[in-house]
């Protein structure tokens, strides 16, 4: 096996749901609902999402180790905070178990598929977590407004300290304002090994 391409993790942007788990707060992938445990990396698994996909299940299609170039599997990270923030509107809908939706940077490593606007990785762990704090009095009336979390933002930030990475509160009225505050400068690739 040859030398790796990079000796430091690639850093992208992504979203997480915040959910309650055994009296603690935990991050969870919004789409596949994978729990990100504190102080343990997440390892990608390729699995079909829907019953329809299960009906088409084949070893060839899903029996590979993610990420696969021809499959969409892997742990996602976007190049800019704006991309992740734009995705928030899709998952910022009230559901029973979701306490809040947070955004942040994620360390990606292992086998990584580099894509035009981001990456899909084999392994990942949060690098920096930002907890949006809606400042609008009636956020549901503001176009692109942020919903209030089910717990105070400060309590959420305290709970996420379990991950051992920086956690920041970010006051903002809208998703656009959040993206602007976080900046859209793309994370740089690490120096080649």
């Amino acid at each position: 096996m040859g030398a790796p391409d990079y000796a430091a993790p690639i850093v992208g942007w992504r979203l997480w749901h915040v959910v309650g788990r055994e009296a603690s707060l935990r991050l969870r992938s919004p789409l596949y609902l994978a729990t990100w445990y504190a102080r343990r990396e997440l390892v990608a698994v390729c699995r079909p999402r829907t019953e329809a996909a299960l009906a088409l299940y084949s070893q060839r299609r899903f029996g590979h180790r993610p990420p696969d170039e021809c499959c969409g599997c892997g742990i996602y990270g976007a190049r800019t905070s704006g991309q992740a923030a734009a995705y928030m509107s899709r998952f910022f809908k009230p559901r029973g178990d979701i306490i809040h939706l947070v955004i942040g940077t994620v360390s990606l490593w292992g086998t990584v598929v580099e894509c035009e606007q981001g990456w899909r990785a084999e392994r990942a762990y949060p690098a920096h977590i930002y907890v949006p704090v809606p400042t609008s009095r009636w956020p549901s009336l503001v176009p692109g407004g942020l919903r209030r979390p089910a717990l105070p933002a400060e309590a959420i930030a305290l709970g996420l300290a379990d991950y051992g990475v920086p956690v920041e509160l970010v006051e903002c009225r809208t998703l656009r304002e959040l993206a602007k505050t976080l900046g859209s400068a793309p994370p740089t690739l690490p120096l080649a090994a």
Partner: protein
């Protein structure tokens, strides 16, 4: 999340662990490295 089409596959092996692992609880002794027995001194001829 849309991240576009794949361009290439790379291998990333971080020198430093990206995961802040569990730290020992206060009061617990830190692990000591195993002591390797040194070679006995040679007896003088």
């Amino acid at each position: 999340m849309q991240i576009g089409e794949p361009k290439r596959i790379v291998t990333v092996e971080p020198i430093e662990d990206p995961v802040p692992r569990e730290v020992p609880a206060p009061g617990e002794p830190a692990e000591e490295p195993e002591k390797v027995p040194s070679e006995p001194e040679r007896a003088p001829a």
